[in-house]
């Protein structure tokens, strides 16, 4: 097909603002308004009808508080509908059939994919990087990737716990305490707060001796998943041509997908559709990485929450209860990035004092330590406190004592000495560092 559109200077100038608008949409924490449920239901109906499917009745188009609820409730509901229609059959085939992606795929093909194909034919991919890729790059780590990983891990943990239990109620009662203890230990190290144990028990209540089937359906509910506003990259690209370039395409089917891109992730099943609310908290650092120093970087109204520090997913209790950290916790942590966050919370100086870490080098400037794979230099303030004592403080330095330049790039490696380490914090080499007066 001949290309129908060439990017104009006027339109080019709108690429970045357009991407920014959709980035803000991904990061939205806005509460749904009183009008939103009706808008959502109309758009869901439109999606099913665009695919030639019978939409679920309104009472089965449900707004749920979080993606976690969408994932578990969606999986459980899919399992219940499967058993209602075909009887109990807890097999791998049954799980696959219960969570068959037909509805999600059909609605997507009829709306997003069809519009994508028409747009691509008419325009080429010229604006893809400036709209879709830019939106994804700025938001994926904190939204799409994080939600997917947390709900996946939580459903796996729940499925694993249920599988550990035998399938009889008697065995369930006998093993419940042991499972609770194991789940407690596992949950303590999770970077998300999702009530896995309660959801596992719910599966036992709903499915009696076949809890694994319900939980496996929850695990496979990713097949029913559409990311909603978390997948705004596609919408940023396609809507640019609809609203900015005014490409002469038929958008009557697509418009429902675009409408739902303003709302949370959804589970789409032949019999029901669940749409998540937005989170109430969602924070990122200057580099768009998921980040919050004192709480979850992402939290939904039902209390489910995700934790990360400058993009490093960390056990939730480190953030919520940093006072519980001990030297033993830090020494036992095998992930270097998580350990650095732990050290930062605990206090480098306190750690060096209490861990008995052995110095690597000492000179008139201070003392250099290696703790696991990180270097720290410990120095004393030159100006005494009112009581005559001098404060100690500890700074992390580059592993090769490379000077940290003004533009935050690193200079050449230096010998591992305390002088070189301190000099590196001012962007200098050890040979360049010799303050005549220091206070």
């Amino acid at each position: 097909m001949a290309k129908k559109y060439t990017l104009t200077d006027e339109h080019r100038a709108q690429l970045t603002p357009w991407a920014d608008r959709w980035i803000a949409n991904v990061l939205s924490t806005a509460h749904y308004t009183a009008d939103d449920p009706a808008t959502i239901r109309a758009a869901v109906r439109g999606l099913y009808e665009a695919a030639g499917l019978v939409p679920p009745p309104d009472q089965r188009i449900v707004i749920v508080p979080s993606p976690t609820v969408a994932r578990f409730a969606g999986g459980f509901a899919a399992a219940i509908w499967y058993r209602r229609k075909k009887g109990s059959a807890a097999t791998r085939d049954a799980t696959r059939d219960a969570t068959w992606a037909a509805t999600r795929d059909a609605t997507r093909d009829a709306t997003r994919a069809a519009t994508w194909a028409a747009t691509r034919d008419a325009t080429g991919d010229a604006t893809w990087a400036a709209t879709s890729a830019a939106t994804d790059a700025a938001t994926s780590a904190a939204t799409r990737a994080a939600t997917r990983a947390a709900t996946r891990d939580a459903t796996r943990a729940a499925t694993s716990a249920a599988t550990w239990d035998a399938t009889s109620a008697a065995t369930w009662a006998a093993t419940r305490d042991a499972m609770d203890a194991a789940t407690d230990a596992a949950e303590k190290m999770d970077w998300y707060r999702i009530p896995v144990r309660a959801l596992t028990r719910l599966a036992h209540v709903l499915f009696a001796d076949d809890a694994s089937f319900g939980l496996q359906c929850a695990s496979s509910a990713s097949n029913l998943w559409d990311g909603g506003n978390q997948w705004s990259g596609w919408v940023a690209y396609l809507s640019f041509f609809r609203h900015v370039a005014h490409l002469p395409l038929d958008y009557t089917k697509w418009q429902h997908y675009e409408t739902l891109a303003h709302y949370g992730p959804r589970v789409m099943h032949a019999e029901f559709c669940l749409v998540s609310e937005h989170p109430v908290v969602l924070t990122v650092d200057a580099q768009s990485r998921p980040h919050h120093d004192t709480g979850p970087f992402c939290r939904w109204s039902d209390g489910t929450a995700l934790y990360a520090v400058h993009g490093v997913r960390v056990p939730w209790w480190i953030i919520e209860y940093p006072e519980r950290l001990t030297v033993a916790h830090i020494d036992a942590e095998t992930n270097a990035e998580v350990r650095r966050v732990m050290l930062d919370r605990y206090g480098f100086d306190r750690y060096l004092t209490e861990s008995g870490a052995q110095p690597l080098h000492a000179d008139a400037c201070g003392t250099l330590y290696r703790v696991h794979d990180a270097l720290f230099v410990r120095v004393q303030n030159s100006t005494p406190e009112p009581d005559g004592s001098c404060k100690w403080y500890t700074l992390p330095v580059d592993d090769d004592c490379r000077p940290i330049r003004e533009n935050l790039s690193l200079g050449e490696p230096q010998a591992l000495t305390a002088r070189n380490a301190i000099a590196s914090t001012f962007g200098l080499t050890g040979a360049q560092y010799a303050p005549l007066v220091e206070t």
Partner: protein, 117 residues
């Protein structure tokens, strides 16, 4: 030894704050590293600006001043003695008589960051 000279670039960015020469603010404590005239009522005979290309922050003084901070002892700045000076997390690297490159201390980590005092 040959005396170093410094030529102030054109189009520098003035970093003074309502006439005050604050070299660094403490992020945590609110304390300041500030250049003051030796006579309290005088305006310090100095300039504090950013170079356009290098982004270096430069302190230029034409008469003796004092660098003060609430938690550190004061340091006298003498334009005729361009020596390296350090007050807590601020290092003054001499470039020429009366001219210092003002360097904030940085720590290495998940993100390289200025030391928060």
């Amino acid at each position: 030894m040959k005396t170093q000279t410094y030529t102030k670039p054109t189009r520098t960015t003035d970093l003074s704050e309502a006439g005050r020469l604050i070299l660094a603010h403490g992020e945590v404590t609110g304390h300041r590293h500030e250049v003051l005239a030796d006579i309290a009522t005088d305006i310090p005979p100095a300039q504090f600006f950013e170079e356009p290309d290098t982004k270096r922050r430069i302190l230029l003084i034409t008469a003796p001043c004092t660098l003060r901070h609430d938690e550190h002892a004061p340091i006298g700045l003498d334009p005729s003695r361009p020596v390296q000076l350090r007050q807590g997390d601020v290092l003054l690297q001499p470039l020429a008589p009366g001219v210092w490159y003002v360097i904030r201390q940085k720590e290495y980590g998940d993100v390289v960051r200025q030391v928060a005092d």
